[in-house]
């Protein structure tokens, strides 16, 4: 299956990764190869096989509504490069909700 440049652009946009013209070319090729590899799975006949969403076979694993310990503000912000007055900071985005 061959991914065209538009599709690569779309995937890049969904992944929020900027790509250059050359990269689109390069990834188009690489991603197509990955898809071909995965496509081998289609050679197996799965008619009548239930899809597996979860391999534990468990259901209703629930916890009681009890409050536990949280990280301190300092700990929470420890790994961010940009912070201000206890907030994480990112470049401005428009509120789109």
């Amino acid at each position: 299956m061959k991914l065209n440049p538009q599709q690569v652009q779309k995937v890049a946009k969904l992944a929020n990764i900027p790509v250059s013209e050359e990269e689109v070319e390069k990834y188009s090729d690489q991603l197509s190869k990955i898809l071909d590899y995965i496509d081998q799975l289609n050679s197996v006949d799965t008619a009548g096989v239930e899809p597996t969403f979860n391999i534990t076979g468990l259901s209703n694993v629930l916890r009681d509504d009890e409050v536990g310990e949280s990280l301190s503000q300092e700990e929470a912000l420890k790994n961010t490069s940009q912070k201000k007055e206890g907030f994480f900071v990112t470049k401005g985005v428009f509120e789109e909700g």
Partner: protein, 444 residues
């Protein structure tokens, strides 16, 4: 050509659980220091695994049952993938193909009093995002709200008038408050409305091929105004031969008009897939348990008030508007019984005086007021003291209960005084004397 509106509603409500949806962080984020209620799970740190809050699921099911939904046999969480700074994992855990509750309905009234049934497509469980604040070209993020349980309620596009939407939203808010699942305060963002509005020629069966989403509108009044404006705008556009497209609009209260926020040139692509970290939910068997724990809902309470107390429907409607008022009305009815005060008298009094009956005091005052209209009220404190002491002497158990902090005990004692005097006594004075006696330990 005549046009008719086609309106559907999506309502988000934040649940008031103690802990968050998938972690044990404290869920109440209102006016707290930013980023003080977070952990690896709600910050989306690598390797963290979600653990579902049972209480949130119970509350989601309660909402579903209150809206006449079916609880499904098998429900699953899915990942809704998109990038936005308020979403640390890069996906929101939500429900898409396997919501907890489906196919419900709610009756709404339009401004003329016509009743119609609005179909509920689904009631599903998800989690809230972090809170963004925009300042000086920067965006500040607080993740205290990240992962707070959120329930989404989606209707079919069954509304044909803005007044129905308002009634629906108010009824939902009332149900949330009756069930005590949320404070449902619009201004605080506990409850959020989104309306999908389009118009079609009268007689057309198919849905229009576009819809305008009205978002970020935080009051019933503004939402109604925005929908009214949108219907007018869209009809005018169609009459001019313009083509309407999918877009998101907000409400400008100063200009009293909607404005374009985002045109949807490309449809969202959320790539939903089942959340592999969370086992499936089989909650059908819990339905009966949840039902038993549920309080009487406003509609049922209203009907019961009419049949049990013989009061008018209009009065009953006012009395059930707030859960507390209904509760205290029934208490007042009980207290009034001793003095042959009819429920209808109390209902009239409460409704006419616009009493909100927020406290025990007001209940007593209402009963007293009606009783006082009859003659021979005992006002003399010395006489009241004597009666109070007699009642105290005869009810050692209530006195014991009171000392152990049971507030009902006080009421029982007051009831005793009322019976002894056939209700012809100043209740406020009785309360003062009683409390003084009980607190001073001046009891037999």
């Amino acid at each position: 050509m005549k046009y008719e509106p086609v309106i559907g509603l999506e309502v988000h409500v934040e649940l008031n659980t103690k802990s968050k949806m998938f972690c044990r962080c404290f869920a109440d984020y209102f006016s707290k220091e930013p980023n003080t209620h977070t952990c690896p799970i709600c910050l989306g740190l690598p390797g963290a695994l979600p653990y579902t809050n049972k209480e949130a699921i119970t509350k989601c099911i309660q909402i579903g049952l209150a809206l006449n939904c079916k609880i499904v046999d098998l429900s699953r969480f899915e990942r809704k993938n998109y990038f936005y700074p308020d979403l640390p994992k890069g996906y929101q855990i939500s429900q898409y193909r396997w919501p907890l509750c489906v196919e419900g309905w709610l009756e709404v009234e339009d401004k003329e009093g016509n009743v119609s049934k609005i179909r509920i497509n689904r009631v599903h469980q998800e989690e809230d995002t972090g809170k963004l604040t925009h300042s000086d070209g920067q965006t500040l993020i607080d993740f205290n709200r990240s992962g707070v349980p959120l329930v989404e309620i989606v209707t079919e596009p069954d509304f044909t008038d803005p007044s129905q939407v308002k009634d629906y939203a108010k009824k939902l808010q009332q149900i949330f408050r009756y069930l005590s699942v949320s404070n449902a305060d619009m201004e605080k963002g506990d409850m959020r409305l989104e309306a999908n509005v389009s118009v079609r020629p009268v007689g057309q069966k198919e849905l229009p091929n576009y819809r305008v989403e009205l978002k970020n509108i935080n009051s019933f009044r503004f939402m109604t105004a925005a929908i009214e404006y949108e219907i007018k705008r869209q009809i005018e556009a169609l009459e001019k031969g313009e083509k309407l497209t999918q877009e998101t609009r907000g409400w400008n209260e100063d200009k009293r008009e909607t404005y374009l926020q985002r045109s949807k040139e490309e449809a969202h692509d959320y790539r939903y897939f089942p959340e592999p970290d969370l086992p499936e939910l089989k909650m059908k068997s819990e339905e009966e348990r949840v039902k038993e724990e549920m309080v009487e809902l406003p509609q049922a309470k209203m009907q019961r008030f009419v049949s049990e107390y013989g009061i008018s429907k209009q009065n009953a409607q006012v009395l059930v508007e707030l859960k507390e008022v209904g509760y205290y009305f029934e208490k007042a009815v009980k207290l009034g019984e001793a003095q042959q005060i009819k429920p209808q008298e109390l209902a009239n009094y409460i409704v006419n005086q616009k009493i909100t009956l927020a406290s025990q005091d007001q209940v007593l005052r209402a009963v007293e007021f009606i009783a006082a209209k009859r003659v021979g009220i005992i006002e003399d404190e010395a006489v009241i003291k004597k009666i109070v002491l007699e009642v105290i002497k005869k009810n050692p158990k209530s006195v014991e209960d009171y000392k152990r902090g049971k507030l009902n005990a006080l009421q029982a004692l007051i009831g005793g005084v009322m019976r002894k005097t056939q209700g012809k006594v100043n209740v406020e004075k009785v309360m003062v004397v009683l409390e003084k006696k009980l607190k001073s330990g001046d009891t037999p």
